[in-house]
């Protein structure tokens, strides 16, 4: 079952904050966040494992609420380079490495 991301698209001014949500109907073991720029490959941002942890680097952080089967990606003080499509990939138990990706959230940061 594909996770659902919201919003589908967001437009920001430089310096503004954004939150992207990822919600699954199935129990999750881990959530992986990627950013993809047009014509390029998805680039790994962070991985969150079961345990409700929160991670971050620079001004991008994420949380994982396993009870609610949700993860959120927080972009603080957005920069032009943050523009792209953000995907969450979810993995259930079983450790097959199988990631099911959401439909993506397109983020555009304007000067």
């Amino acid at each position: 079952q594909q996770p659902v991301q919201s919003p589908q698209a967001v437009i920001l001014r430089e310096g503004e904050d954004a939150v992207i949500n990822c919600s699954s109907s199935k129990a999750l073991y881990s959530v992986h966040w990627y950013r993809q720029k047009h014509g390029e490959a998805p680039v790994f941002l962070m991985i969150l494992l079961k345990g409700g942890e929160q991670k971050g680097h620079d001004k991008i952080s994420a949380s994982f609420n396993e009870k609610k089967q949700q993860s959120s990606l927080y972009l603080t003080a957005s920069q032009l380079s943050y523009s792209g499509t953000y995907f969450c990939g979810t993995a259930g138990s079983g450790n097959t490495g199988k990631l099911i990706f959401g439909q993506g959230t397109t983020l555009q940061v304007k000067p």
Binding site: A41, G89, N95, G97, L99, G104
Partner: protein, 112 residues
């Protein structure tokens, strides 16, 4: 220097032809994957191999056949290409099952 590489980068071919896409990783990873991304950007797993053993085989037409000659390579052969096969195909690798996946640059396949 390249971590995960794919060839070719672009592939334009006629319906009914057979084509192959090659993938190589120099990260020393044990696990490799093939994904298909359609025109709506939907990214879907097709296959994965761990230490040359097939682990994931999603509901993919049997015209698609992966081959892993060694841990560093995972190739994708497609027989009797159809219009609906047009997409971007990404190879990825991870140290082990369940760990961070690193994507190659993609192969843009257009079937005419």
């Amino acid at each position: 220097d390249t971590a995960v590489s794919q060839t070719p980068k672009y592939l334009v071919t006629q319906m009914g032809n057979d084509k192959s896409i090659k993938c190589e990783q120099n990260l020393g990873h044990d696990t490799m994957y093939w994904y298909k991304q359609d025109s709506k950007k939907f990214l879907k797993i097709m296959f994965s191999y761990n230490n040359k053993e097939l682990i994931i085989n999603e509901t993919v037409p049997n015209r698609f056949s992966p081959k892993s000659p060694d841990k560093a390579h995972l190739n994708l052969h497609i027989n009797s290409l159809e219009l609906g096969d047009s997409a971007v195909y990404f190879c990825a690798s991870s140290q082990a099952l369940g760990e961070t996946q690193y994507f190659g640059p993609g192969t843009r396949l257009l079937v005419l």
